[in-house]
C-alpha cells in the first residue's frame, strides 16, 4: 500500500478551499498580535480543576456495553500448546473468550515498515514472544467478573529459548524471535555523507565510545482506554480511544480489520491524561476490541490497568551506539562515525523503527561536521515491543554524541565548552544544510551559549565545583548542546529502504496539517483541528491565534479538539507527537482563520463601501482603519454569509466555514544519496549543570541546572515553560531513575510504581530557564517545536557532569546509586 504524497508547489500553500470556485486575491488587512505571544492562562483548566474533564473513561457508553480483561503471557518465548476456556465460560456473567485463533481468522497481521515476516496480531497467534503479550480476552458483564474469569483460563505453553540482550540477539546463533525472518537482525543500512574515510585517515586523533540507552517509558498517569462497537448494518466500527496519532496508523488498523478506512470511525476524547508518545501504542488494542465487539455483538470497553501498562504497553527502544570522532588536536571534529544497534522488542509495530531514523538528517547535532558515516541496525528480542516515547530517537542520539564531545575534551585536555564552541554551526550559515540532509531553519547557537553562560552563571558553577573539590567532595559540571527537531517529514522513515525500494513504493514526503474554523450565523467562532492534545494547552493557543486574526477575545473562540475521523479534518500526519503542533496544526488553524478574515473583510467592504485593505478587525468589530465609527459588528458581517447569500460579493461561497491545509515544501523525500530533511523546524537547547555525588550513598544531587532554549517565536510563554519543565523532569528520570528491567529469562521486574521509579518532586529541582527567539522562516507563525528539548539534553548533560565529578569514562543510564557505586569501587581499586 502506498501512502505516498506528491510534493505540493509552494504557490498553493496560501489557501485551499476547494468549495470556492476561484482564488480571491490576498487581502492585507491589518493584524495585531494581541494574544499570540502572551502567557495566557489556560481555558482547559476551568474544567480540569473542577473535576469535569472529559477523559476517555469518563464518557457515557451504551447500556449494552460489556467489559474486557486480558490474559497475558508469563513467558518471554513459548509455543501456545492449548487454551482451555471452558471453566471461564461457565462463570455467570462471562460472555465470551477471544483467542489468537479468532484473531487470526478475522483479521490480518499489522503492516510492518520493513519487508520482513514479523507478523503481529492483536493477540498472540501460536507463540508468545514477550512477557505480557496478550494471549486471550475475556468479555463479561463487568470488569471484576472478567478478571475472575482470567483466573479460570488454562493455557498450556512449551517454553522456548529467549533472545534478550540486543548484541547477543544480533548474533547468528541466537534463538530466533521470528523463525520466518531467519535472523533477529532484521535490517542493516549503511550511509555515507562527504568523505568520512578520508577524514578519519587524515585525523590527528580518533576518539570513540560506546553507549547503551536503556528501555524506559514516560508513561502517562492515565492508562489506555478503548470502547469499540460494531454496526452490523453498515459493516463499520465506531471506536473511542485515547489514541494520540500519528494517523498513518489508521490505515494499518483498517487493513488489519479488512475494511476501508471510512468503516473504521475512530473518535478521541477532548481530554487525554498525558501521552508523551505512549498512546500511539493503544492501536493494537483498538483492533482487538473491535474484533471482540463484532464477535460479541455488543460494545466492548477495556480500561488498561497500571500493571498491564508497565508490563506491556510501550518502551523506548534500547540503543547501543558506538560513536567515533575524527579530531584535530585543537578539538575540531572533521568526521563522525555511528554504529547503531536498536532493539525494538518482539514486534516492529508501526511506525517503528521511527526512533532510529527520525534524527537521521540531523545526526551531526549542533555541529558543523561535513563527513559522516552511519550504520543503522535493527534487532528484535523477546521483550515488549518498542514505540514512541517523547524525544523519539533524540535522547538516544544525544546521549552518545554529547558524551563523545565530553570525551574529546578529556582526551585532548581541552575545556568541553571550547570543544562545543569550536564545532558549532556558525550563525551566518542558516538556513544550514547538515551533512545527512537536515535543513536547519534558523538559530544563533554561539549567542545562546553566551547568554546561558553569562551573568555569572558559569562562573558560579565553577566556583561551586572548586569549593566542593577543595573539601574533597565529588562535584562535576556537565554541558549539552542539542538541536531539537519539530514536525517530522512523513517521508523520513523511507530512508530505511534502499533507493530502489523507495522508487518502487513511490515517494513519501511532507507533513499535512488540517484545521477548520467556523463562524455561525450570530458570529460565534469554533475550531476543530487534527491534533489530540494531552495537556499541552492546544485549546488555549488556538484560541489566541484565531482571536488575533478575527479581532475577538480568546474566550470568544470555542475550541474543542475531541476528534472524529468520520467528521473532522485529518490526514496521515494528524496527531500530537514529534512537536508537530506549533509548526503544523497551529499553522493550519492560522491559515483557516485568515481565510475567514479575508472573506469577512470582503463582506464588510461591501457594507461599509471601503476597500478590504482599509479595514481592521478589533473589539468584535470590523472598522475603517482611519475612522473607527465607520464600522460593522463582526457578528453582523458574519450573519450576511448565512442569511443573505445573494448579497455576497461575486464568486464568494456562502456560509463561513474554512478548512485549511498546510504542508511545507522543505519536507522533501529522501534523495538518491539518502539525504533527508527529517523535520521542519530545528530549535536549539543548551544545558549546563553542576552535580554532586555522595561518596557513601552514590546518590546524585543536582546542585544547579541552567537550560537555554531557542524555540523560535513562543506562541504562549507560560505553556512553553511548562513544556520545558515537564521534559526536564522526564530527562532527570532517564538520567537517574527509570529503567525497564528484565531478568535472564525475560521476566519483567519493574511492574509496579514501587519498582519502576518515576521521579517525585523530591527528585526534581526547578531548573533555571532562559529563552531567546530566532523565528523560523519556514512557518508563518515563526514558531518551532518546543516539547522535547530537555528529554534530549538533560540525560546527556547530567551524565557529563557525573563523568566529570567521578573522573569516569562510562556512566551508563540510569545512573542509579548501585551502578555508580560499582563504577566508583572499580575506579578506587588499586592497580594489580
Amino acid at each position: 500500500m502506498c501512502f505516498g504524497l506528491v510534493a505540493t508547489p509552494p504557490v498553493r500553500y496560501n489557501r485551499t478551499t476547494p468549495r470556492e470556485g476561484r482564488e480571491p486575491a490576498r487581502i492585507m488587512t491589518e493584524i495585531a498580535a494581541r494574544h499570540v505571544g502572551q502567557p495566557t492562562e489556560r481555558t482547559e483548566d476551568l474544567r480540569l480543576l473542577r473535576g469535569r474533564g472529559q477523559y476517555a473513561d469518563d464518557l457515557a457508553v451504551s447500556p449494552r456495553t460489556v467489559h474486557a480483561a486480558i490474559l497475558r503471557s508469563p513467558h518471554a518465548h513459548a509455543e501456545i500448546v492449548s487454551i482451555d476456556a471452558k471453566a471461564a465460560l461457565s462463570l455467570p456473567g462471562v460472555i465470551a473468550v477471544v483467542t489468537g485463533e479468532d484473531v487470526q481468522a478475522l483479521t490480518d497481521p499489522f503492516l510492518v515498515a520493513l519487508r520482513q515476516p514479523l507478523h503481529q496480531w492483536s493477540l498472540a497467534v501460536g507463540r508468545v514472544r514477550y512477557v505480557g503479550e496478550p494471549v486471550a480476552l475475556v468479555l463479561a458483564d463487568d470488569r471484576y467478573l472478567a478478571e475472575d474469569a482470567l483466573d479460570l483460563l488454562s493455557v498450556s505453553y512449551r517454553e522456548l529459548p529467549v533472545a534478550l540482550d540486543p548484541a547477543e540477539a544480533a548474533q547468528e546463533d541466537a534463538p530466533l524471535v521470528h523463525e520466518a525472518a531467519g535472523t533477529n537482525l532484521v535490517s542493516v543500512r549503511d550511509f555515507s555523507y562527504g568523505d568520512p574515510d578520508g577524514a578519519f585517515a587524515a585525523a590527528d586523533r580518533r576518539i570513540a565510545l560506546t553507549t547503551r540507552f536503556p528501555r524506559h517509558s514516560y508513561m502517562p498517569i492515565e492508562n489506555f482506554v478503548v470502547v469499540a462497537e460494531y454496526h452490523e448494518g453498515d459493516g463499520a466500527w465506531d471506536v473511542l480511544a485515547n489514541f494520540q496519532g500519528p494517523y498513518s496508523t489508521h490505515p494499518v488498523m483498517a487493513r488489519a480489520l479488512r475494511v476501508p478506512g471510512a468503516r473504521l470511525r475512530l473518535r478521541t476524547p477532548r481530554d487525554s491524561g498525558g501521552s508523551f508518545g505512549i498512546k500511539l501504542a493503544v492501536f493494537p488494542y483498538i483492533v482487538l476490541m473491535a474484533i471482540a465487539a463484532r464477535m460479541a455483538g455488543r460494545p466492548v470497553k477495556w480500561v488498561e490497568d497500571r500493571y498491564e501498562h508497565l508490563l506491556a504497553a510501550n518502551s523506548c527502544p534500547e540503543r547501543v551506539t558506538t560513536i567515533e570522532a575524527a579530531v584535530r588536536d585543537d578539538g575540531t571534529i572533521t568526521a563522525l562515525r555511528f554504529d547503531q544497534l536498536e532493539d525494538y522488542g518482539a514486534y516492529l509495530r508501526a511506525p517503528m523503527p521511527g526512533p532510529l531514523y527520525r534524527m537521521h538528517g540531523a545526526m551531526t547535532g549542533a555541529y558543523d561536521i561535513p563527513n559522516l558515516a552511519i550504520t543503522s541496525k535493527i534487532v528484535v528480542t523477546n521483550r515488549m515491543p518498542a514505540g514512541l516515547v517523547r524525544g523519539f530517537g533524540g535522547p538516544q542520539l544525544y546521549f552518545a554524541l554529547e558524551r563523545l564531545i565530553q570525551r574529546v575534551a578529556v582526551e585532548l585536555d581541552l575545556d568541553p565548552l571550547d570543544v562545543i564552541r569550536k564545532n558549532l554551526i556558525p550563525a551566518h550559515a542558516f538556513p544550514y544544510r547538515a551533512a545527512a540532509g537536515a535543513l536547519y531553519d534558523s538559530g544563533d547557537y554561539a549567542k545562546a551559549i553566551e547568554i546561558a553562560t553569562g551573568d555569572g552563571r558559569l562562573d558560579d558553577l565553577i566556583r561551586r565545583r572548586d569549593a566542593a573539590r577543595a573539601e574533597g567532595r565529588l562535584y562535576g559540571i556537565g554541558f549539552a548542546a542539542v538541536v531539537e527537531p519539530g514536525m517530522s517529514n512523513m517521508g523520513y522513515l523511507s530512508t530505511l529502504l534502499t533507493t530502489e525500494a523507495r522508487e518502487r513504493a513511490g515517494p513519501k514526503n511532507g507533513a499535512i496539517s488540517l484545521a477548520t474554523v467556523n463562524v455561525d450565523p450570530l458570529g460565534a467562532v469554533s475550531v476543530s483541528a487534527d491534533c489530540m492534545p494531552q495537556g499541552q494547552g492546544h485549546e488555549t493557543v488556538l484560541a489566541q491565534i484565531v482571536a488575533d486574526q478575527l479581532g475577538l477575545a480568546p474566550d470568544e473562540i470555542a475550541v474543542n479538539l475531541a476528534h472524529d475521523t468520520g467528521k473532522d479534518p485529518w490526514s496521515i500526519a494528524a496527531g500530537t507527537y514529534s512537536c508537530r503542533f506549533t509548526p503544523g496544526t497551529a499553522v493550519a488553524v492560522h491559515k483557516a482563520a485568515r481565510q475567514l478574515r479575508d472573506k469577512l473583510a470582503r463582506i464588510a467592504s461591501n457594507t461599509l463601501n471601503l476597500r478590504p485593505d482599509d479595514l481592521v478587525f478589533t473589539g468584535a468589530r470590523i472598522q475603517a482603519r482611519d475612522n473607527p465609527d465607520n464600522a460593522v459588528a463582526f457578528a453582523r458581517a458574519a450573519g450576511v454569509a448565512h442569511w443573505a447569500p445573494a448579497t455576497l460579493p461575486d464568486g464568494m461561497a456562502p456560509g463561513l466555514r474554512e478548512t485549511a491545509a498546510w504542508t511545507p515544501p522543505e519536507l522533501a523525500a529522501p534523495t538518491e544519496g539518502d539525504h533527508i530533511n527529517t523535520s521542519l523546524t530545528y530549535g536549539f537547547v543548551f544545558d549546563m549543570c553542576g552535580v554532586e555525588v555522595d561518596p557513601i550513598t552514590a546518590q546524585v544531587r543536582i546542585d544547579r541546572y541552567v537550560t537555554m532554549h531557542d524555540s523560535g517565536k513562543l506562541l504562549n510563554p507560560l505553556l512553553a515553560e511548562g513544556q520545558v519543565l515537564g521534559a526536564f523532569a522526564q530527562g532527570v528520570g532517564t538520567a537517574l531513575h527509570e529503567e525497564f528491567v528484565y531478568d535472564s529469562e525475560g521476566s519483567f521486574l519493574t511492574a509496579t510504581f514501587a519498582d519502576y521509579l518515576v521521579p517525585t518532586v523530591n527528585e526534581v529541582p526547578r531548573p533555571e530557564i532562559l529563552h531567546m527567539e530566532s523565528p523560523s522562516p519556514f512557518t508563518p507563525l515563526g514558531a518551532k517545536g518546543a516539547g522535547e528539548g530537555n528529554c534530549l539534553a538533560t540525560p546527556a548533560c547530567l551524565a557529563n557532569a557525573v563523568a566529570d565529578a567521578l573522573g569516569i569514562a562510562d556512566p551508563q543510564l540510569p545512573m542509579t546509586p548501585k551502578r555508580l557505586h560499582a563504577l566508583m569501587a572499580a575506579r578506587d581499586e588499586p592497580a594489580p
Binding site: 489556560r42 480540569l48 498517569i221 517525585t760
Partner: protein, 162 residues
Amino acid sequence: MRELNGAARHRIGFTLNGRAVSGWAEPRLLLTDFLRQELGETGTHVGCEHGICGACTIRIDGRAVRGCLYLAVQADGREVQTVEGLADPDGALNALQRAFRKHHALQCGYCTPGLLMSLTDLFARTPRPSEAQILDVVGGHLCRCTGYAGIMAAAREVAAEP
C-alpha cells in the same frame, strides 16, 4: 457491625461534598469505582490502583486517603469530599484552584484532582505549612507533565495568603 455477604450487593450511603448519596456495591468494589461508575462522579481519577501515584486521593471524614485502596463499603455513613466539591458555593474556583491555574500547575490534568485533595487536606490541618511540609505532601504524588514546579509555586502562594 454490619454483616456483609461477599456475593451480594449492598446499599451504601454517605455524604459526598455535603450531599447525601447512595448506591449499590459488592464488598470488593473499590471506592474509586463506586464514585465513578455507580455515582457517575468521574473527577476522581484512577492511575495505578496500588496506592502510589495519588491521582485518586480524596478526603474521608477530613483525612486524605487513596480512593483505590479503600472499599466502597468502608465509606458507608461517612463524609466524603472529592475534587468536585472544591469550588466555591457560587461555582467559582477556590484559592488553591486559582493558584494552580495561575502557575500552570497542571497540564493533562489527570493527576490534578489527587494533588488538589492532598493539598486541601494539608491546608485544612496546617494553614501555614512549611516548605518541607508542602514537599512531603506533593512528594506523595506522581505527575508526569509539569515537573512539579508549578504545583509547588501554587502551594507556596496559598500557604502565604493571609
